[in-house]
Amino acid sequence: MNFVSMAYAIRTGPVRNQLLCLAVFLLVVALCPLVMNDYWLRLMVFVFVNIGLASSWNLIGGFGGYASFGHGVFFGVGAFAGAVGMVRFGLPLPAVMVIGGALSAALAALFVPVFRQKGLYFALSTLAVMLVFETVLQRWTFTRGLRSYDLGWTLAPSLPLEGFFYLFLGLLGLIVGSIIVVVRSKIGYALHAIRKDEVLASSIGVRTTKYKAITFMISAAWPGVLGAAFAPFLAYVSVQSVFDVSITLNMILITIFGGAGTVIGPIVGGIALSIIDQIAWGNFLEYHRLIYGALIVAITTLHPGGLASVFWGWVERRRSAAKPVPRPSAPGHPPTSAPRRA
């Protein structure tokens, strides 16, 4: 079995193939601490968080076609839940992770009225909610800090660096695993139909608002969990550090760069952008933002499907070169192609 057909089999085969593939990936990555120094471990944690966030965003933004422009609010709320929970109430890390996820999902549930509107309104509303929360968390004395003049929380790291590494690796596994399962389930079909043609979807019986809401809540809960776990890792949580617009933008960029609406997109995008980031930061000090921006423009203009579509295009070509038969895809699964509309 060569690489091309293996990739194809993983993509179109039953869910367990993908889960297995994910497990192998996680196991390989889990060996990293054996060969990496603190910096690289720390960097890996950031990459995990970025991929986890992007994957969560991808669920509603990529698979559902509803771009959230304030998804950072869920990460921020999670991080504040972590900081306030651990410092003010002395809660253990697992507890604040659950709280962070629950709070974010509850917040997402408030979006149901907005879901009746089209994607643009949704994007705007999420942005507005993020900016409202940014101000509220900054002004509210309960979340502002322990002392009146504080504007942020200092946390003691509750785990050693390796501990965080495995914690976030595990979370990443859960997130990606859950997304693999979700997109191959009934919800996945609903999302696909909604993204392609929402009017049509509802006309053939898909309860669009319900499925959008479920998806959005899942996609919000994970950033909440990640945020709560990230608080002690970051050690200093303030509105400035966890509500930065760049957090939301990163989710979107990573997803688009890798390929929106594909499971592998955010993973590929997260890794690729981290590498580019490292090179640009290290070598083109004052130009790295320019490079970053130019890259975004280049990928959206030339390859809107992202790296994943480049890869799958290559796989398809290799396959059809090998044996010119029509695609014998397994029935019963929504296609995982990139969101390209002719």
Binding site: D38, L43, Y149, L234, A235, Q240, I279, E286, H288, L302
Partner: protein
Amino acid sequence: MLDRAAIPRRPSRRAVLKGGVLGAGALAVGVALPRIAGAAGGADGVVHIGASLPLTGPYEKVSRICKDAFDFWTRTYDGKMVVAGRERAVKWTIYDDENNASRAAQLTEKLISDDKVDLVVGTYGTDTVLAQGAIVRKHGRVFVQAGASSIRVDEELGGHTAFTANGRVGTYCAGAMDFLASRTPKPKKLGLVIMDDPVYHEIGQGVKDKCKQHGIDVVTEVVLPMNVQDLRPTALKLRGAGQLDIVYNTGWDVICIKLAEEMSAIGVNPKAFVGGHLTTSPVVKETLGSKMQGIIGSTVWLPQFKYRDDKYASAQEFAEKFKATYGYLPTYQAAFSYILPYIYQQALREADPQDPFNPKTLRDRLSRLDLKDTIWGPVSFDERGRIRRDAAPAVQWTGDPAAAVIVAPADMAESAGVYPKPAW
């Protein structure tokens, strides 16, 4: 749906663009890889200094000043630093932390664990310095910084991890407030504009303390979010407070500019306007033009200060050489950035040749450091790792084109100062 044929498609240009992107990518990798490989090994006989600065974003211009000042120090000493009695080549590694705390932490980790720098100097900004400090502390190392003056640095990092070469921000207002309190008729009413961030609250608290001391009423206090855009509502609020003697802005240079613009636009004419601690930034003078007249600023450093060191006979000479190199007069950020490697140099001059950068001995040396003459003035640290220095002198902008003259404290004053200031 739209007819595809109607959209202009030019495959040839697309191909060219694609080729260009690929080529640029290949080039970037080609350029980058050897440099990455090169960065790994630090040869002996080199002092490797690591830093991060918010080089992109709103703090860009300040960061450039800081970066230039690092460079200026390196040039001044021909790229050499005397460590343990032996001259070593200096190598800088500077990253961009974008004023983002988690980025700063990550980059500091990179500097220490990956680039294996010998010394770390602090970045610019409270959040980022705190995040940076957490990492430095984790490694049991020490760093010198001047980019964060908040009392939080003392509380969380002071003395053991951080040595802060900048005075407490609570004292920034001392010169200006003492100067104003000594005027006749004595100012009675003050309007205070505070940015909603701990540092600015600290500055504001300092102003309030001084007001209490001098019997001045704080009649109105406006707290503004950090991302405030429009200052006219604030100006209107100040006007609503009646005739004010003093308006004190704790915010940075842009806030000062906007506040001055809006106050002048709607006719708020306080007898004195303290523009804050960044009025010496060249941008302020350029933008405000003739409205600079009479604005008071607090500053921790000016070329006029009677400071000197082993290379420069006066701060003025330092400033002129700096200007000759970079094309602008150094601000206080330039001076405090220059002083950071300078402090290391002084502390390490007689270090143990076996292990010159040992954190423990470096910490001791820094605590015991007592420099009388530097471009930044006398340098010694208290038990919290804070430079021993309180009041910041006050300057006032007078003449046409306006120039900053020191008006307080009395022993440094170059001019008696103007009060009340001319109307806008």
